[in-house]
Each structure stands twice: as structure tokens, then as C-alpha cells.
Symmetry: C2
Subunit: 81 residues, 2 copies
Amino acid sequence: DIDAGKAKAAVCAACHGANGISVIPDYPNLAGQKVRYLEASIKAYRDGERKNPIMSPMASGLSDADIANIAAFYASLPAGG
Amino acid sequence: DIDAGKAKAAVCAACHGANGISVIPDYPNLAGQKVRYLEASIKAYRDGERKNPIMSPMASGLSDADIANIAAFYASLPAGG
């Protein structure tokens, strides 16, 4: 559900950009990324497989449905922004 | 050095695509990604911060210069492929 993902991803825009093109050089662009890769990455932060002082807490409260929606939203954005 | 990176990234194309758009849904598109994020990610696989049965061995033999060149190459590609 892309709309639900867009709503849930409002907080993500601060780093990853409203259009999925990151505003900070160290943080990845997410626009047009592979949806399954996005899901796996967010889950890796939520479940501790990947550790990052910002992403781990960001992902910690997300349900599988939230993650699927957020991933669908970013994957739906044009890759170049 | 984008040309050196392109040469070094020949092996990466099998999964990430010759144009940096992944051919496998679970693997990320790299075209147009942030160069510093690409560098940090490849180093994370090389140095064990990220563990993946394919990426870890792929990254293990790379020097810092190799990684900088590969990252520069993929970052230089058009984001949409």
C-alpha cells in the first residue's frame, strides 16, 4: 500500500528526501530501489542484523506491514528523483 | 577513477547489472547511488560489519582505492539505468 507507506515514511524524508533522493551524502537514495531489497534492509535494521545509531531506532517500531508499505512507496518513486 | 572502477566492477555486473540496475529483485540497484554510501557499504562487507554469503567474499580482496573507484563508477551511472 503505497499511500500508507508514504504516510509512514514522512519521518524518513528528513534524511532520504521527500522524493527519495537523500539530502545527506552518507545516506542512500531510496527512490526506484528494488522493493525486496528495501524490505530486507529495513528489517535488517529492525531485527539487529544491521546496526546503525539512526536507522536501528527508526526501524525498531515498524511492523512487517509498515515495512512492506514503506518499501513499496520508495520503490514506486522515479529513480532519478 | 571511474574507468578503473568500471573495470574492477565487471564482476559486479552479473548481479547489479552492467548499467547498475540489478537483475535480481533482492539485490540493490547501484546506478546513481550516493558515492559515500556505496563506499561505506562495500567496506562494511569487506570489514565484516555487514555479512552476506555473496558480498562478503566479493568485497574481501578489495583495496580502499578499488572501493573508491567502484563507488565512483556506480554513482556516475544514470539513476534510472
